[in-house]
Symmetry: C2
């Protein structure tokens, strides 16, 4: 009984299931079978729509990155000053959604795979470039060296995220606060009025 127009529904179900499954397992060692089962279909159908495991995984990654982009966009829309824009970007990076176990696992997997998988590497680069570009734009009115400041902030964000996500000692709020403090320092105390 082939209901027509199933492709988009199936694809999205598989993407969701992939993220959930990676989150539950904590790593990439999830099988197409597990994913398909969680999405309520057969292995064969998953292969039919995506072609292979790699492509399923990439689609899931793209989905997470798109969600993150949305998060940033919404916050940037409400920011009226350059400083507020910088704060908005930082806020997006430490949003609760970024700390969902599934999201954390997906990010770690992304990092680990970026070394060997070209598609993954491209995706990671895309994220890094966007973050950098957003930060540069926000910081340009606030410092003589927006490029250096953006690189520093971006790296600090990644590092804080890594620590907060993996270490038991630190939590998301603390990391967020540390990033905001650093932003204030980088930009110079005189500009810190939002």
């Amino acid at each position: 009984m082939p209901k027509l127009g199933m492709e988009p529904i199936r694809r999205s179900a598989l993407v969701t299931a992939t993220i959930e499954e990676i989150g539950a397992a904590g790593h990439l060692g999830v099988t197409v079978g597990q994913i398909a089962k969680r999405a309520g279909m057969s292995t064969a159908l998953a292969h039919h729509y995506f072609g292979g495991k790699d492509q399923i995984f990439l689609a899931a990654m793209r989905h997470i990155l798109r969600e993150f982009g949305q998060e940033a966009l919404v916050r940037l829309r409400d920011a009226r000053t350059p400083y507020a824009r910088a704060e908005a970007i930082v806020g997006a990076c430490f949003a609760p959604s970024c700390f969902a176990p599934a999201t954390i696992s997906a990010w770690m997997t992304l990092y680990a795979r970026a070394q060997t998988n070209d598609g993954t590497a491209r995706l990671l680069r895309l994220y890094q470039l966007r973050l950098h570009s957003n930060l540069t734009h926000a910081l340009r009115p606030l410092t003589d060296t927006p490029d250096v400041a953006a690189t520093t902030m971006a790296s600090l964000i990644d590092g804080l995220y890594l620590r907060a996500a993996l270490a038991r000692t630190s939590d998301a709020n603390h990391a967020h606060q540390t990033a905001l403090n650093a932003l204030k320092t980088i930009v110079g105390p005189k500009n810190d009025q939002a």
Copy 2:
């Protein structure tokens, strides 16, 4: 023809082979068979000495962390002032040895596995605590908030390393320089004379 006292030789050969193999493959998807072959022995012998794949991998991780510790120790020994000590720690984190492909792969794998593997998580925490403690000690005479400063520097270092290791745009020297600049900013321009 059992030559006696093979155990330490075999173990160390396996550790070396594991790192090389992970470096060559770029990820954790290396088999015990591959490792054993590179180390010049049978799969069974690898299991005999280590018990299982997890323990082989953990031993390799410990080896890399030990090497990093040595690198830091040597540099710290020659540092005469607090500022020089901080610089020495940063220098160790961006030493060429940290950017060997095998080392990068091992680090990424460490991050990815820390979520699910307890032993790996412990190892990672150990590294993070040591780095933090070293930095706090070095920064204590230079700032009122050595703890915050250490957390910021440690995260920045991790983030810069991540970017330099994975992105094509940045290189180790550039990352190193950025970290040193940040150190100067954090500590305050007045203290920047080594």
